[in-house]
């Protein structure tokens, strides 16, 4: 920062402090170690000054002022704890307590309750209130996850503001007025939000409690350790908490660079997989009568025997840490001597190496902070609310608070469309063509592209080659001087690429001259008997690879396979040796998130049985194969990484030791980009041709940007793209999405199938958590309105979807999706889409 920030000097409780102008008094005081009591104030949200707890005396002001909404100014003299403000604080607490049930002994919040703590510090010793307290029906289940006790509520509005400002899921509101004011959901509408758990964490009392944690523990009985959420590539810092060896709660840790203060409900609640009884606890070795439990020594010997001198391949899952990834790469390249290693289970081409052409990393050049401060964001990828929920929050913040222009390119409506300035609805595979057009000045939306620009790209649909789309995204970012944010599918994805778990890239993006086989090639080779052995590290190819049939044939036909896993997965059932793995809260490690930020996991509890980190399993296996890496600890692995991975030379894992807020580190690439000039040739998709979208003029569906800095809620109320605000009145239907001409009857050769993940799916982790399983949507087929009609169907009808030899029945949902295309969630109850995807096209028929 070169611009000088204006500073002011003020005095708080006799201590002079110099700080930036415009900051809030409550924050400045807190930095001085002066904690002004508060309930409604939360640094992640706008001040509302409703609890009146943080009143302080400012010299010259006629009344006490709320320090949460008073900006500091020069020469201000503030008293926070003299008689007048302290008296007011005490009085507020007395007011808040008159109707509070004081049921602390049975309240989950007891022991970590801001109301309790502040009553001890600032409150009166006894109450003068002798009347009966206000009473409400206790413990209302306002959703599967959240329980509301209105008697405990102090009406701080934190939950409401979170839903209003942060998540945009306005399902809870104030009802009634005066002393009858209460927080409630709307009648018959549950608190249906992917972010609802955050309201529990920020509730300053026990009004909102977690259904999964009610009466489970007292805070002083909990042991906790910092960790990183392992469900998506955002990598939110969390704290894992256990009691009696059982993981009972996960909460968000704040990091303004990553997650602000928030995590999604999957991150918060889907931890029950850790102590699931189904976990693998001991190695299994296939004998004549099926699997038999074995010691590690026996299992490693069997595995080594099966792998020795074989043509082999290594496939890694997306949940591996950086260390596991490095171990897998070393195991494949050095121990097995093969280039056949990959982690890309989506079979999307995920052409990370393309980024090296324009930018110096095989991944993002943008950070999430860049996204938040961008003037223009182009999004071409999966629905971030389903796959990268906290990134969705940050995108939303960029649009709602900072009025960034958001251009969304894709074949179907996703959550971001609601926030978009322009929605470019393309045919499948038309993304690249549409983004190309954004480069030409005449295209709608192109005029809105301004600096700073961040182009976000992620593989949206499993089993489709997305190379062209990624190339177009890179070109757009490069040509417009913007940055690229690559959104890989899993928590470990970036680390796996960095560590060389890629057939064409060695650790640190060293390009391999003759690349080995990728995931599909390895499975095909295994299926045809051309590959002797497979090592699957956290890779459940039968569930996760988009061609279930190929995965099955590969596992059936491969001569020998070793699986390192948490659970006895479908894939593991075919293995010859199964080695049990440790889960994230049970281990030390690092994840590299989508912005190449390394964050560290600390072990909270021991793994079950003899399970251990995958890198340890691989180290032992290498030793059994005669290749001793001499790794005994996390530090040993890192010493090796620092020596051999150029991009990670400067990384000091000790600096990642978790604190609160968690330390994290974004490493710089040591590479020079191979193409630096502005005239760099475009990186073309396969065949050198860009797939084209709609014919000229058709693809753009534009809405107007919101021209005024309106109140958030006025914005929210009418934020659908296509509505043009005119002096406070929304004009509806200015631009509605229409199917282009020419689509009348269902395509004779069936529909093109797209499939992407939903947040709550049948994945191994979510499905072990009962509450989330109950929230999981059953499988559905999403189709365009015209297409649904052309089949004589209506929304909600049951249909049979058939692709190749596979067919299934589920409900049809009318959605905004390109004509001739259907969307099926990847893995929901009732339908595993990866059994259909390889067919490419599917037919839909009504079930009568």
């Amino acid at each position: 920062m070169t611009a000088e920030r204006e500073t002011v000097t003020l005095t708080i409780d006799g201590r002079e402090v110099e700080t930036e102008k415009g900051r809030l008094l409550i924050d400045v005081a807190e930095e001085l170690g002066i904690f002004v009591p508060r309930f409604c104030y939360h640094p992640g949200m706008k001040s509302v000054a409703v609890c009146r707890m943080c009143l302080v005396k400012v010299e010259g002001m006629p009344k006490l002022v709320p320090s949460c909404s008073t900006p500091v100014s020069d020469g201000m003299v503030v008293e926070t704890n003299t008689e007048e403000p302290a008296g007011a604080q005490e009085q507020m607490l007395e007011f808040l307590l008159i109707n509070h049930p004081l049921d602390c002994p049975i309240c989950d919040r007891g022991g970590e309750c801001p109301l309790q703590d502040q009553t001890y510090r600032h409150g009166p010793g006894s109450s003068r209130y002798i009347e009966p307290k206000r009473s409400w029906e206790k413990a209302l289940d306002i959703s599967q996850l959240v329980v509301l006790d209105r008697e405990r509520c102090v009406l701080c509005w934190r939950c409401i503001r979170f839903c209003d400002e942060i998540s945009g899921d306005r399902f809870i509101q104030l009802v009634d007025r005066g002393a009858g004011t209460q927080i409630l959901t709307f009648a018959d509408e549950p608190f249906d939000s992917y972010f609802s758990g955050n309201t529990i964490q920020i509730c300053p009392v026990g009004a909102l409690t977690a259904a999964t944690y009610r009466f489970v523990s007292r805070p002083w009985d909990l042991k906790n350790a910092p960790g990183v959420c392992s469900y998506c590539a955002v990598g939110c810092p969390v704290t894992n908490e256990e009691r009696g060896g059982k993981l009972v709660r996960v909460q968000a840790l704040p990091n303004e660079n990553v997650n602000d203060f928030w995590i999604c409900d999957k991150g918060r609640f889907a931890f029950h997989y850790v102590d699931s009884a189904e976990r693998l606890t001991n190695p299994l070795v296939r004998g004549d009568d099926g699997f038999a439990t074995a010691s590690w020594t026996e299992a490693l010997a069997a595995a080594a025997e099966g792998l020795r001198d074989k043509s082999a391949g290594v496939i890694c899952g997306g949940h591996l840490t950086t260390e596991d990834a490095y171990a897998a790469a070393r195991f494949a390249r050095k121990t097995l001597g093969t280039k056949n290693i990959d982690s890309r289970l989506q079979d999307d081409g995920a052409p990370y190496e393309l980024a090296l052409e324009h930018f110096s990393v095989a991944g993002s050049t943008a950070t999430m902070n860049d996204v938040e401060t961008a003037r223009t964001i182009v999004w071409c990828g999966p629905d971030p609310k389903e796959t990268l929920p906290v990134l969705y929050l940050r995108l939303r913040k960029a649009v709602v608070e900072r009025h960034a222009k958001l251009i969304v390119v894709g074949p179907r409506r996703i959550s971001l469309d609601d926030l978009a300035t322009h929605v470019v609805r393309c045919r499948p595979r038309g993304e690249a063509g549409c983004m190309e057009q954004l480069l030409s000045a005449g295209a709608p939306g192109a005029a809105d592209i301004g600096d700073p620009l961040v182009v976000c790209w992620g593989p949206a649909h499993a089993g489709r080659d997305e190379t062209a789309g990624f190339a177009a995204a890179l070109n757009l970012a490069h040509d417009r001087g913007g940055k690229i944010l690559v959104c890989p599918p899993h928590a470990g994805s970036q680390g796996l690429i960095d560590m060389g778990v890629h057939p064409a890239l060695e650790p640190g993006y060293n390009k391999v001259v003759e690349p080995g086989m990728g995931t599909r090639a390895m499975l095909e080779a295994a299926a045809s008997g051309d590959l002797d052995a497979l090592v699957l590290v956290g890779a459940d190819v039968l569930s996760d690879f988009p061609d279930a049939d190929l995965a099955r044939r590969a596992m059936e036909n491969v001569g020998f396979s070793v699986v390192i896993e948490l659970f006895p997965t479908e894939t593991a059932r075919f293995a010859d040796v199964v080695l049990p793995a440790a889960a994230a809260p049970e281990r030390e490690g690092t994840f590299t998130n989508l912005e190449r930020r390394l964050q560290k996991l600390e072990p909270l509890m021991p793994p079950p049985g003899t399970a251990r980190e995958p890198w340890r399993a691989l180290t032992s296996l290498a030793r059994a194969l005669g290749d001793d890496w001499r790794w005994a600890s996390f530090d040993d692995v890192w010493a090796d990484i620092k020596k051999n991975v150029p991009t990670h030379k400067a990384v000091d894992p000790a600096a990642l030791a978790q604190e609160i807020p968690p330390a994290s580190l974004q490493y710089e690439s040591g590479f020079e980009p191979t193409q630096k000039s502005a005239a760099a040739p475009h990186v073309a998709g396969p065949g050198g041709q860009y797939p084209k979208g709609f014919r000229q003029g058709a693809p753009f569906h534009t809405g107007q940007s919101w021209p005024l800095s309106w109140e958030l809620r006025a914005f929210e109320a009418r934020q659908r793209p296509g509505s043009i605000p005119v002096e406070g009145e929304a004009v509806e239907g200015a631009a509605t999405i229409r199917a282009p001409d020419g689509v009348r009857a269902a395509p004779a050769d069936g529909f093109e199938l797209l499939s992407g993940r939903l947040l709550y799916d049948e994945g191994a982790m979510v499905s072990k958590t009962r509450v989330l399983r109950e929230l999981q949507k059953p499988a559905y087929v999403e189709m365009n309105d015209e297409d649904v009609k052309s089949l004589g169907l209506a929304d909600g009808d049951e249909v049979r979807i058939t692709g190749g030899d596979v067919s299934a029945t589920c409900r049809v949902t009318v959605g905004d999706i390109a004509p001739g295309t259907v969307f099926v969630p990847y893995h929901q109850k009732g339908l595993a889409a990866n059994t259909l995807i390889s067919a490419g096209r599917v037919t839909i028929e009504a079930v009568r």
């Binding site: 409703v50 007011f95 002393a179």
Partner: protein, 464 residues
Amino acid sequence: MAAEVRMVHERLRSFPDDSWTLDRALADGGYDAARTAVTSMSPDEVVELVKNAGLRGKGGAGFPTGTKWSFVPKDVFPKYVVINHDEGEPGTFKDRELAELDPHQLIEGIIIASWAVGAEKAFIYCRGEFALGSRRMDAAIAEAYANGFLGRGIFGTKFDLDVVLHRGAGAYICGEESALLDSLEGFRGQPRLKPPFPAIKGLYGRPTVINNTETISTLPHIVANGAEWFRGWGTEKSPGTKIFSVSGHVNAPGNYEVPYGITLDELLEIAGGMKDGKRLKAIIPGGASAPLLTHGDYALDFESLKEAGTMLGSGAVVYMDETTCMVRNALVTTEFFAHESCGKCTPCREGTWWAVKVLERVEHGDGRQEDLDLLLDIANGIDGRSFCPLGDAASWALRSNVKLFRDEFERHVGDGRCPYEEEHGAHKELVGARSTGMTATGLGEAGITPQPSEGIDADQRGEW
């Protein structure tokens, strides 16, 4: 001897049979002042004129109207004018009469104000219960459009103005300007955090001027007659006239337009003196929010009443005679505020609820000696600490009742019952626990309602 004057009341007092019609307004020089302002004065000249006249807001705070207008940024569009016609202060019924009996005067004022601040859209936020008034205003707005006083190109100029009438849904808090804006936008009516002030960021985030009905109704007279003429009434700092809604134990309750500066005793005389020759015990000089006075030798202007520790407020003057139980008075007043508290901030929400509980006990004979200090503590706990002035108002009313009539409270506690029940029979409900009742009572007793006023039951249930 002070007497009524007729400025804002001119047309409706002179022509009680048809004062609300356009024909009558036009025959009486209606819209001439608006035409003058729009066709021959610049907006700045109008602002200057109103500043020079010293017109002060008549909704309660008495803020100088011209100064308020000058806070609105000139170069930001669109901006809005909003008329606060949510007259809810217990004891006040002046705006209701103005809208019912002279809506064209109000519209004329709106044209002048909108011209002055550069707004092309004005909203009248009408209290939901005002059925007749809203219909009269609706009709008057339609007539004004039909005659080219509203709409596009007013008076043949390029000035466009639309007026939208919006009926509230029955919340006192919506008389607070920022809560009014929230309600007008379709949200829950609750005060907003200030700054930003409405002049900078008001309705839909745009610069907004919010004025009271009576204030706006005064504008045509200032434009027509000039600042000097206007300053011929009232005091140096409170120039002009003010309509006082007089109610309570007086012989002729009603709305009286008088110059600022006459005393409460003089106003009482205008209103026919105390009923049945009873002795005056207490006066609420400016609506239920205002601290009480115990005699009438105070001038009715902003400065004098402030000096006396109370306020002019909205101009609701309630005279209470010796038979009034002040505990009861404190109870019904506090009940009103507890009922109308929006629930946003802790002290107002919890404090008013608590005070009602304590007052109920004291009134019904279950009071304890320490309750009197507790009541004062509750009042002090709310005062100056609530989010908006509603809480402050509740605390002032409560505190002045306890402080000025502590002996009565002590008698209630000591006797274990309300002494007034026995001495004077049933309680006289003075300051209504519900503002609806109060306003209706005042008008009804004053006998000035030209037609029976339909309440919310008759009118709104069908409509909504």
